[in-house]
Point group: D2
Chain length 239, copies 4
């Protein structure tokens, strides 16, 4: 059983009644419920817990970490970010959602600014599938339509993705690479765009399905350790 | 005329007579001479200069930065590393040589450990061309052979390269992705493996040619600025 | 001076007065004029010429071949297609425009159906730049807008591109990978979407600039021959 | 249960007693036995059967096709090759082994010559893992060593792989991209180098494990059909 930890900043939910109404249990609560329906062992962690809820024990017991943040990226302690990065490079999966594009952990793993265009104007979003045979796209159909969302537009300052799975169309005139994957060390990373806090996006069954597919894909593979450092010659004849 | 700044740690040259004998002007001096023969406007900068020789003025006047470091990665100030990263993302080319794989700037741009296998045992190295039509491979032929070099072996913990140009064969039994490229922001990055300080590798004409080709490739393209942030809708009908 | 041959089916121009009015010299004539302004040595070839105008002499004297076809893909002789494929694998650049996605030569080089969605309904098209530092994108700005064009939509059944340069937004609700590159053998291939015959797209200065940039990028590099076949061992000790 | 069809030319086994001694049931027989141990529903097909054993019924009942050929690529009927290509593009997995690099089906799907260097001289081969978290590499360790094999060396004239999994080192001095993947249409393709007929390579447990992992990876995903062709506008306002 895949062990998922859903990390949420959990600030909008406390400050903005509109968000509270949509996510009474928080974005993390909604995602927990959605992912448990897929049979995962899901737990949550939030910014205001000690060590942001991401203790060594929690990280060691996490196969895939889901990350949502927005207002308070700067409050996430560097020491925690470094521990998460190390766990990803050692094999933990990481799913970064929406405004998590600007989180310390995503920027640290990408090496770029991760900047983009945005607009809060109830754009219609249509996420078209580009890579139809990828496991994260199973059961998704041709596209996912969301009636109203925040717009994210290109340029999206990320490294060339290992795989491009979906491209979003927005009614206001923009496009965006909205589902992309990376391998870093032993870890697999999936960035997925939708999920502005003022829309009920994480109650959308297709959105949750894609995140669940992402969890399955990002779960660690069985693998032998890599060996770095000084190595003896395998062949004779070397001095 | 492309403006190249060659940055060198310049420590082995001062401590190890064997290295001094090979590079009496330092590795940076040898590279400066080699690259000037290709018509570049080359200057050097070393660790022990103020701001490591990488002042705002120098960086602003640099099209492509070449980086060699080994013993003293930890002495490079974080503030300088951040300035260099910003310049790369804004369009400055970066060529990272040999043990620069463990430099702060390379690790920061890659997001991974950049670890690898190594052995100092006079391995023969043969760098086979994989991508024959790439501009960095112009005039290289089928492979470059170096009689004796330090071995670097897989696993090499880097992100999937945008382009794989060469793979090294070592007589001791290993292989290595020894010439790889990345785009990060507006900047182009070229990692090139050879160049252990105790071998006269940067006097090898083929090695210098590849670095020179890399400089030409990594020089900034003319481009319009990208626009990030809040954007008005281009189409009507969005609220 | 780069030698460009612009190949055109040249059927719509003869049958449809609307097309004749837009392209009195044919699509090939318009492209010839546009590309000559960039300093290329441009010539044309059309379907109804002997060997479709692509004799051994013409192909041998062509650095980059530009291809436009639509109605009559089936009339292109297989022997000519095979010669063109061989020339591409030997280093000739190939730029495939618009409905050329269904040409024999493109399908043969891709190995897939190259099928897609389409609609002739005066959609507005906005081509957003994804890869801002690529030479084909020089001087293009953030996006190119075309007031009315045929729509092409995903899924586009092509291999994963080596590089994704632009993604199109269409007012009717679709997206499309509209500028993509491939390396095949020594040859470089650029597919560029716009250019339905009933719109004056090839009179658009930005569209012509991108094609011209593509010609420069696809022009053959200087390279040594690759050696295939039975090879003697470079190292001793092999039986 | 994944249904595998192992296709073999089956000519060396009939003509060369050395090969018969290694593979008394044919290469297809050895692979069938090896793959059945992984729980697949395996069947075989050979060149000299009617329709080469690849009838519509067989192809329709095949999830993953494994292909070994060498002497008689030219005898495979084009009509069968076209049917196999169509099935791959519709989702059937394809694993191409060793000298299958020159098969009609592989060349048709790749669009290139697929040429390479080779030598029959009992080279030692060491296949190093490059992509450690890929499912095809599960349980493989750092590398697979084969005491004696035919050498295949770069240049290997294939399209840029979607994923590079292993690089081979040969004692005679060459390297080779020996495990690569592609997505074409809905189908997944895995090329795996080892397996010259005069060596007992397909009795090597690690080699068989990688092929078995490849079968699991290449098995068709559940997916909805793609829709090509004329499409109505999803948004209003288009003429």
């Amino acid at each position: 059983m895949i062990r998922v930890t859903i990390w949420n900043e959990n600030r909008h939910e406390k400050r903005n009644p509109k968000v509270t109404a949509i996510y009474p249990e928080g974005i993390h609560g909604a995602l927990k419920q959605g992912l448990e329906a897929y049979g995962f062992d899901a737990r949550t962690a939030v910014l205001d817990e000690p060590e942001h809820g991401l203790t060594d024990e929690v990280l060691a017991a996490t196969d895939v970490l889901v990350w949502w943040g927005h207002l308070a990226h700067g409050e996430v302690e560097d020491a925690v970010v470094e521990k998460v990065q190390k766990r990803v490079l050692d094999g933990m999966g990481l799913i970064v959602l929406h405004s998590g594009h600007f989180s310390k952990i995503f920027k640290k793993l990408m090496g770029t600014t991760c900047d983009l265009k945005w607009r809060e104007a109830n754009d219609k979003e249509r996420l078209w599938v580009i890579n139809h045979s990828h496991p994260i796209m199973e059961g998704v159909g041709e596209y996912v339509e969301i009636d109203a969302e925040e717009m994210y537009g290109e340029p999206f300052d990320i490294p060339t993705p290992d795989e491009l799975l979906m491209v979003s169309w927005f009614s206001g005139g923009e496009v965006f690479r909205s589902a992309v994957t990376y391998r870093r060390g032993f870890g697999k990373i999936f960035y997925f765009r939708p999920g502005h806090e003022t829309y009920p996006t994480y109650h959308n069954a297709q959105v949750v399905r894609i995140i669940a597919n992402g969890v399955k894909w990002a779960a660690p593979a069985l693998h032998d350790p890599r060996k770095f450092g000084n190595a003896r010659a395998l062949e004779a004849g070397v001095e």
